[in-house]
Structures are given as structure tokens and as C-alpha cells.
């Protein structure tokens, strides 16, 4: 026969139906014979009854499904839209959740942008080695003649594009009005258009400082990624021409590193897409791009 101490120990499990048949029958027998334990059990039943009457006042509103359905539709469209939506979803809480203060968010973006600036400086330094300018002369003359875009960059010659980005970062001082000394020359812009080839988006961003200044954080991150891709494209072109001059073992080593980095890029992009709440996902992704640029650059200079 079970004593009161043992019975008390099992009482909640008995109430919850978690005891096996044998233990359960022992408790039941004890409760039938012990008024004190029976009272304790009744008190538990009363509690359960009280909780059963608890009403939260929450209802499933039709808009709840509407919201789920809308988001699922976005998920199902997949591809770039889905990714951007998720990156955007990641960045939204980044700006509002106390864990990531605006200052920290701005710092994170500045890190990404600083990396981008470095990449674009590299890209700019390589401009003179290419002579595909003529093809887009007309386009660029038109752009520079247009009053609206007001590109507001720096010197008349080298490294035109990258330094635009910091002005667009949160907290950075915006360039309020283009001045003659900081207006970019048509030539420098033209060079960049040609150099970056398919990077039409980069051109667009560099042309419109005012627009850039108003860009959202997700746009900035997206732009940073695009700039990395453009820079990688340029460097890959350089590397392709120099590949044959390099020692095959060195080439193999570089290729191995690049393959590993590509895997990292793919993984980090997936992470950004799948784990929107991961606060460092974008940072890791941009770092992976930066690493690829670094390796390609090293490879391009390996014969020097």
C-alpha cells in the first residue's frame, strides 16, 4: 500500500494521466482510503477546472490567413524576389529591435559599404587597362549633359564611383548640392560604365546620388552585393588572360580556394535567404564576396 508521501509525489502525474496502469491503480487505492490525499487531489482538480475556464479573448481573424497566404505566395514565387523579401524582412527588425540599435545597424552597413568602397577602388584602379570606351561614348555624353542626375563625386579622374556609397549610408552627411569641384567628369563615368560591363545597376546607383542618399538599408546591401559581383566580373576577366602565364600548381591552388569561397558565398546567401533573423548573415555574405575579390586580385598579380 502506498503511503501519503509517495502518493503526493505522484499526484500531479496521476491527474495528468501520465502514470502507467499499475502506479495509477496504487494512487487510486490510496486516494480512496486517505481523506487528506483525496482533498489534495480535489484541490488539483479544482485548479484544473479554473484553468479550463480561462478565456484569452484571442480569435483567429480572417486577416491572419490573408497574411499567411500573401507571404506564402511570395515564398512560392521564389528566386530573387523571395530572397529580397527575406533580406528585407531581416533588415526591418534590425532597425527596430533594441538588440540592434540604429548606431549598430549603421555601423554594420558602413562595414559592408567600406568593403564595397575598397572593391570599387580596386576596380577603378584597373580601369585604364581597358579600352572599351568608345562603344558607350554617346550614352555617357548624354548622361553628363543631363541636369537631373547630379553625380557628386570627387576628383575628375580616378576612382569615381566607390566613394559615393558612404554618402548614402545612414548617418553620413549627404551631399546636398553638386558643386563644380565635386562633379564627376563625363570621362570618369564613361570609363566606369565600360569597365563594369554588365553592371548597369552600378552605373544607375552612381549616377543618382540623390536617390542613393535616400536608399533603404536593404537597397544598400543589395547594391553592395551587386558591386562585388561587378568587381568580381572584372577581376575574373583579368585572371582569365593571365591564367596561362601562371604555374599550373599555383593556378590549381587558386582554383581550389575560389571553389571553397564560392561554396561559402552560396551558403551565406542561403543563410540570408532562409534565416532572416540571423543578424550577421549579410555581413558574412559580403565578407565572402570580399574574400573572393581578394583571392582574384592576388591571382591577377601573381605573375608580377
Amino acid at each position: 500500500m502506498m503511503n501519503c508521501q509517495e502518493c503526493e509525489k505522484f499526484l500531479e502525474e496521476y491527474l495528468d494521466g501520465e502514470l502507467d496502469a499499475r502506479a495509477g491503480s496504487h494512487v487510486a487505492s490510496h486516494l480512496a482510503a486517505c481523506e487528506s490525499c483525496a482533498n489534495a487531489y480535489d484541490a488539483l482538480v479544482s485548479e484544473a477546472s479554473l484553468y479550463a475556464s480561462y478565456e484569452r479573448g484571442v480569435e483567429v481573424s480572417p486577416r491572419l490567413w490573408d497574411g499567411v497566404e500573401a507571404r506564402i505566395r511570395v515564398e512560392r514565387t521564389g528566386g530573387e524576389v523571395g530572397l529580397l523579401q527575406r533580406v528585407s524582412a531581416w533588415l526591418a527588425p534590425l532597425l527596430t529591435v533594441p538588440r540592434f540599435s540604429p548606431a549598430l545597424t549603421a555601423a554594420l552597413l558602413l562595414v559592408a559599404i567600406a568593403l564595397t568602397v575598397g572593391v570599387m577602388k580596386l576596380a577603378g584602379s584597373r580601369e585604364k587597362s581597358h579600352d572599351e570606351i568608345a562603344r558607350t561614348d554617346e550614352l555617357n555624353v548624354k548622361r553628363s549633359a543631363s541636369p537631373a542626375p547630379a553625380t557628386t563625386q570627387h576628383s575628375e579622374t580616378s576612382t569615381p564611383a566607390p566613394t559615393e556609397t558612404p554618402a548614402s549610408a545612414p548617418g553620413a552627411t549627404p551631399v546636398s548640392k553638386p558643386s563644380p569641384e565635386n562633379r564627376k567628369s563625363p570621362g570618369s563615368e564613361r570609363k566606369r560604365v565600360n569597365e563594369l560591363g554588365g553592371g548597369a545597376q552600378v552605373l544607375t546607383a552612381s549616377n543618382t546620388t540623390q536617390t542613393t542618399r535616400e536608399q533603404t538599408p536593404e537597397q544598400l546591401v543589395r547594391e553592395a552585393e551587386q558591386r562585388y559581383l561587378a568587381a568580381i566580373q572584372i577581376l575574373q576577366r583579368d585572371v582569365a588572360t593571365k591564367r596561362t602565364k601562371l604555374d599550373p600548381q599555383t593556378v590549381a591552388r587558386f582554383d581550389q580556394s575560389l571553389a571553397a569561397i564560392d561554396r561559402s558565398i552560396a551558403e551565406t546567401r542561403r543563410t540570408v535567404a532562409e534565416h532572416a533573423s540571423d543578424p550577421v548573415a549579410v555581413q558574412y555574405m559580403l565578407s565572402a564576396y570580399a574574400k573572393k575579390v581578394e583571392v582574384l586580385r592576388e591571382m591577377a598579380h601573381a605573375d608580377q
Binding site: 479554473l50 479550463a52 480561462y54 491572419l64 497566404e69
Partner: protein, 212 residues
Amino acid sequence: MMMERLAMETFDATTASQSGALDHPPMTTALTPIARARAGDADAFRQLFERYSRPVISFVFDMVGDRALAEDLTQETFVRAFRHLGALREEAKFSTWLFSIAKNVAREHLRSAERRASKVELDDESVLELQDERATPAVELLDKELNSVVRRALGALDEDKRTVFALKVFQQRSYEEIAEITGFSLPKVKTDLHRARAEMRRRVSPYLGVKQ
């Protein structure tokens, strides 16, 4: 509450048995809502939503104590469920799996909102004041007041105890299911549940006799 739980079990059992019927010639209509939702059928997923959204939103509300927020987090729960349906190993455990997503979503929110004092404090003095002012509470106010007391008492539990208590007492989950949902060991589930009951009892005890 119990009926809701029984209905959910029946639904799970049905989907599981239908799942077994896949040995028969494949027919789209023979597929369970879970299988069809897995294949991207939004209507099937809606069926799942209609079946589980109420218990899920109740559970999330118990965790976060805010109706609008509970709605947002429930939406997030179902979106994640849809996204990761392919990772569900056993259809029979769909509701356990869904609740584990809901738990994760609620906890993520609570952790990110820690600085905003996510825990609804209920100190002993306020309970005593309520008790003193309302030694014999009016019947018409009792239910409303009781709901408020239970909600605040829940909010005063720490996160682990609140999770276990809500899953057991309100969602009628077995200890084993709670362990699966939370990732806690069975002994921890039992200990947390016992302590949660004791804390809740201390806070709602003034109402126990009155309610009967």
C-alpha cells in the same frame, strides 16, 4: 479545451492513417492535407491552418501576453511551417512539430524583446491587494478578473515554466510531447511543471474557493 485537443488528435491520427494508405494506387485525393501541402497545395495548407491556428494562437498568446503580437507570431509560425514542411519526418507528429515552431517563434521574440521587459510582472503585493479589496468578489466581475489574474500569473512565470505549463494545462500535451516540442528532458518537464503549478497556485489561490 479538451475537446479541441481530442479533435486535434483525431486529425493527426486521420492524416497518419491516410498516410499509410499511400501504398494504394496514388490518387491526389487520397493524399493527406499534409502531403498535399508539402507538394505546394495552398488549399491543403489552408486546411491545416484552419485546424491548428486557434490552438497555436492561444499558445503563442500564453507565451507573449499580447493579442496583436500573438497574431503576428502565429502568422510567422505558419509561414515557417509551410517553408519547412519538407523537413517534417512523421506526418502523425505534425501538431507537435507545429507547436515546436510556434515555441521557437515566441521565444525568439521574447529574447529579442528582453530589454523591453517582456515578462509581465505580478508581484505578491498586487495579488494581496486584489484579495483584500475583493474578499467577496462580485460574480459578474469574477470571470473577467480571473482571466486577468491567470494571464498575469502566467506572465510572471519564467519562460521555461510558462512554456511547459501552457502546453500541459492549456494544450493538454503529454509530457513526452512537451519534451519533443521544447527539447527539454522529461525530468525537466516534470520539475518545471510542478514548480509552475505551485507558482500559479500561489497567485490564483484567492479565487479557487470563490470559483467553485
